[in-house]
Structure formats: C-alpha cells, structure tokens
C-alpha cells in the first residue's frame, strides 16, 4: 500500500513538470496552428541557461526562472519574427513549418554542443539531495518545489488568458484570426507574443526539468513527445484539461513499471497516445485531432 502511495505522489510531482511543458506547446499550436518542433530544443536551452546561471553566477535555479523565462521569450519572439512569420500563410500547419522549426532545433542543439560538450549535466543545489516526508514517503525537495512552481504557472496562465486584455486577444485570435483583423487586433503581434510566451513556458519547463533529471544537447525528443501527448489528451482549450492529462500521463508512466519492462516506461506516453487516438480520435476532451 505504501508503495502505491509512493508512486501516486511521484506521479503528481511529475505531472506538474509535464503540464508546464505542455502549456508551451499547446499555446503555440492553439493560437498559431503551428507545431513547434523546436519545443524540445527550447526546453534544452532553458535547462542549460538555468545550469549556467547556477554554475557561473551561483543563482538558485528556481530564482533564475524569471531570467530564463525572459530569455526564452526573447528567443521565441526572434524565432517568430525572423522565421515563422515568413512562411506563406497556408503553410502554417504543413510540413514547411515543421521542417523549419526542426532546423532551428538542430541549430540550437549544435550551439549547445559547442558551448557545453555533449556530456550529461544536471543542476545540483545544496538542497537537491534533501527530502521531506509527504504522506509517509520521502519526497525530494526539488520535486516539491517544481510542483509548486508548476501550479503557480498554471494559475498565472489561467489568469492572464481569462482576465487580461492580452489574454482575451490571444483567445480571440485562436478562435478566428481573420475576424480579429477586422476588429483592429494586430494579429501578427499576437502571434509573436504567443510564440514568445510558448517558448518562455518551454524554457521554464527546461529549468524545472534540469533540477530533477540530467540533460545534454540531444535532450528534447522525449520531452517533445510527452508534451505532445499531453496536449492531445488534454485538448487545446483548457488549462485544467492539460493539467489532468499531464497527471494521466505521469500516472501511466509511473505505474507502467508493473506491466512493462523498465526501458519502455519512457515511451508509455507515446503508447498511450496511439491507444487514445485509435479509440477516440477526438482526444479525451473532445478536441478534433484528425483534420
């Protein structure tokens, strides 16, 4: 029984990270209809940024989050303004945008490799090895903090999207970009800002990731996959939907140890995705995934 609780707790903690990763991908897709294939790369960049700030400047990774968020935001804005914007409008969802962003991912990966070599890194702080007792099980402090931050991010995102003018504009553009130009919303600016927010979320997720798991320049593919699974399961319209989906994926991953051999647990999310798509093409929350 305690084992069960252990795993439940582990899943909940992981879910926070997965949700944060998924928000970044989902926001960009929901608004621009572009799948940011560089998402995993930005997560990796965020991880390295947090690591550098910690190693070279001694900044606590969690405190570095605003810096990383800002930097990742800037990266996203640059990506949009210089590259994504230049795609012909109809190509938004097509192979062109995929390949373009994939190219960006390769470049990011190479830069990281040049700067930091291909070795695994991790952010280890004074309290990394500490743990607390939660519900009778030992939980690493870092994971607790990650969950806390993830919850804060989710709440903030919800507030921004629902209560601010920017959030309203973003939601309007996601619904119908053409009508938005008619009422005077600068759609391009919204696209740019949304892309930036999406990459900011990815960058922050990267820092959080780095405090729990090791990473290297080639990291990002599994994170991209997981984010994608969560987005598809959770639907595009709903922050809580994504949170629930993140929990489901985390639970599936943690509990799959009983069913699957160890090396397949990381791909559980993907298997889950295939199963869901085959059985319920509309995702769990009824979003149309098949055009």
């Amino acid at each position: 029984m305690t084992r069960f609780v252990d795993m439940l707790v582990a899943a909940v903690l992981l879910a926070g990270l997965y949700a944060t990763m998924a928000y970044g991908l989902g926001l960009i897709y929901g608004v621009l209809r572009v799948v940011n294939l560089a998402h995993g790369g930005v997560i990796m960049v965020g991880a390295y940024l947090g690591w550098v700030l910690h190693e070279r400047l001694g900044i606590d990774p969690y405190l570095a989050i605003p810096i990383v968020a800002l930097a990742s935001f800037g990266l996203g804005v640059a990506m949009y303004a210089l590259l994504v914007q230049r795609l012909p409008r109809g190509a938004a969802g097509g192979p062109a945008s995929l390949l373009l962003l994939f190219g960006v991912w390769l470049v990011l990966r190479n830069i990281a490799y040049l700067l930091f070599t291909g070795n695994d890194q991790a952010i280890r702080t004074a309290y990394s090895t500490q743990s607390r007792m939660i519900l009778g099980t030992h939980v690493a402090v870092s994971r607790l903090v990650v969950l806390g931050i993830a919850l804060a991010i989710a709440v903030t995102l919800q507030l921004v999207l629902r209560r601010t003018q920017l959030g309203r504009a973003i939601r309007a553009v996601a619904q119908n970009a053409d009508s938005c130009t008619l009422v005077g919303i600068d759609v391009r600016r919204i696209y740019m800002l949304t892309f930036g927010i999406g990459t900011a979320l990815a960058g922050v997720a990267g820092v959080l990731f780095a405090t729990i798991f090791p990473f290297n320049p080639a990291s990002g593919a599994s994170e991209l996959l997981k984010s994608f699974v969560v987005v598809v399961l959770g639907g595009l319209g709903s922050i809580t939907g994504v949170a629930v989906a993140a929990l489901i994926v985390a639970l599936a991953e943690v509990f799959s140890i009983f069913v699957l051999p160890a090396y397949l647990t990381t791909t559980v999310g993907f298997l889950l995705l295939v199963v869901v798509l085959v059985l319920r093409p509309g995702g769990l929350f009824g979003q149309r995934v098949l055009s």
Partner: protein, 324 residues
C-alpha cells in the same frame, strides 16, 4: 500556368543513362580507392532509401521522422539471418525488406493522423523501435550490435548491387508518380477529405505507399549492413538517422523525383567532409541549410536547378530576339 510536374526532358534522360553507364563501368576501368568506393556505394544505397522516403514525405505529404526504424529493422533482420541461418545473401536482404514492409504496416493507426500529428507520431514510432531493438539482445546483440563476417568480394560487388538498386527504385519512383496511384497520393496530399469525397480510400493508399516505402528502406538497410559489416541499434535506428532521411529529401527537393538523388549525393559528400573537418558543426549547418531551403527555395537543389534552367532559357530567348 501549366501542370506542376515537369515532364523529364529527353536531354536529362540521356544524361542519366550516360551517367549510369559511366558509373557501372567505373570500377572496372579505374582503380577506385576504398574511400571513393565507400562514398559511391553509400550514396547509391541512400539514394534508394531517400527516394522511398519521398514517396511518403513528398508524394503523400506525410513527413516521417521515424524512417530509421524501417532501415534498422531491414538491416537487423538481414544480418541476423546471415549469421544464424546462413541463407544466401540476397535472400537475407529480401527477407529484411519484407519484414520492414510488414513492420511499416504496424504504423497503420498512425496513418489516420494528418500533418504534424503524423510527423510527431513517427518520432515516437522511431524511438520505441530503437528502444525495443536495443534491448532485444538475442536478436540485435543489444548495444554491442552485430558484426558480419568480412567478405571483401561481396563488399566490392555491393557497388553494383547498390547502383542497380538505386536505378530500379528511381524508375519505380517515376512510374509511381505517373500512375494512377501517384495521382491518388497527390490528391490525398492536397486535400485528404476531398479525396475521400471522390472515392479515394485515404487509409488504404497510405498503407500501401508506407509499406512500399518501408520495404525499399528495409532493403537499403540490409545492403548497408552487408557493406559496412557492423550495425548497432542506436546508430541504425537512432533519431539522427531518421533526421538524415528528412534532410536528404528536403535538401534535394521534397516531392520531386530528382530531389532525393541530389540530396543523397550531396548529403553523403558533405557529411563525409564535415565529419572529417568540422564534425562538431555538422548538425547546425544542416539546420541552417534546412531553414534557408524552407524560407527561400522549398524545392531545394532541384528548385534551384529549375530556376537556373529557366533563367538560362530566358537569356537564350532574349539573345535570339536581339539577333533578329
């Protein structure tokens, strides 16, 4: 505006036939260094593989980031049969190809997905395949991989096996493009729902072409294994290898028949050069290349070539008008 698929001009066909003839005779006439032999044979194998990738990525428009899985399955099945069952080599290659084709059918549920969803699903497909094969030690030798016995004669002859294979696949590619199958695939690419609305079963034809693609890529894997004599799962089925297929097709010109050929050749050449001189830059350079191609010349080298040809024709017409 005329139809977008340019009929292959007679001069180009003649050029290709001549090129093929020269390549076929080359090793007999000239003493090829192992380096050159390697370069050419790898190119031929890759040409075939990328042409087959292009059937999915270019004809139907479903960009696969997981084709290494098919490449690897073909290679490992072929190698395993050679080591354990001692079948004649071509039979092993064919068996590998068939297994890869069947394995491609396992992706059937994914084929209902469109565009980015399909592409991301293929990343997962590739990753799972890699992990499963890495841990299936009895079959693939695990992380240490499989070593095939050295056969210098076979290695030398593989030049012609690979060349013939590449030519056959190129011909098949052109044939598919012009057939009713090709037409249906293009219709699916343009608008899958509208294609269904005129009676085309989108899942069936995508299954067919994915299976064909998998079979050919699996065969190229088998040839690769025989040529290089050593294969291991993280290399053969890795994401980097899947990336290579995409890069070759896009650099050469996705969707065209000539593109994969150019892309494969350029890729092999550049990769060999970069790996020798600037190994640490090669991914980034490819990334930049990809970005530039998508933004400026989506049809890659083929597109550039067409533009050059068109410009030359325009200049020639201008000159003849001036003379008159």
């Amino acid at each position: 505006m005329t139809a977008p698929s340019p009929l292959i001009p007679r001069r180009l066909v003649a050029g290709f036939v001549a090129g093929f003839a020269i390549l076929a005779v080359l090793p007999v006439g000239v003493e090829l260094s192992p380096y050159a032999h390697n370069l050419l044979t790898s190119s031929f194998i890759m040409i075939a593989g990328v042409l087959a990738w292009n059937w999915m990525g270019g004809f139907v428009g479903q960009v696969s980031f997981g084709h290494a899985s098919l490449f690897g399955v073909g290679a490992f099945v072929s190698a395993r049969l050679m080591l354990s069952v001692h079948l004649p080599v071509p039979a092993c290659w064919l068996a590998g190809a068939v297994c890869a084709g069947v394995f491609a059918l396992a992706a059937h549920p994914m084929l209902r997905l469109r565009g980015p969803y399909f592409s991301i699903a293929t990343i997962g497909f590739g990753e799972i395949s890699r992990q499963v094969l890495t841990y299936w030690e009895r079959f693939t030798g695990g992380a240490s991989g499989l070593s095939l016995p050295i056969d210098a004669v076979l290695k030398y002859q593989l030049y012609w096996w690979a060349l013939g294979f590449a030519v056959l696949v190129a011909l098949a590619s052109v044939a598919i493009r012009r057939s009713s199958l090709g037409l249906k695939l293009l219709a699916i690419k343009a608008d899958a729902d509208a294609a269904a609305d005129v009676g085309i079963s989108t899942t069936f034809y995508q299954d067919v072409i994915f299976m064909l693609s998998g079979t050919v890529v699996g065969l190229s894997g088998g040839l690769w294994a025989s040529y290089f004599g050593f294969i291991e799962p993280s290399d053969m089925l890795g994401f980097d290898r899947s990336i290579a297929f995409v890069l070759m097709a896009v650099v050469g010109g996705i969707g065209t028949s000539l593109g994969p050929v150019l892309g494969a050749v350029v890729f092999v050449l550049v990769r060999t050069y970069l790996l020798a001189s600037y190994p640490e830059l090669y991914l980034g350079l490819y990334g930049l290349l990809l970005i530039c191609i998508i933004l400026f010349e989506p049809l890659g080298l083929t597109g550039l070539g067409l533009r050059v040809v068109a410009a030359v024709q325009r200049a020639r017409r201008r000159r003849s008008r001036e003379v008159v």
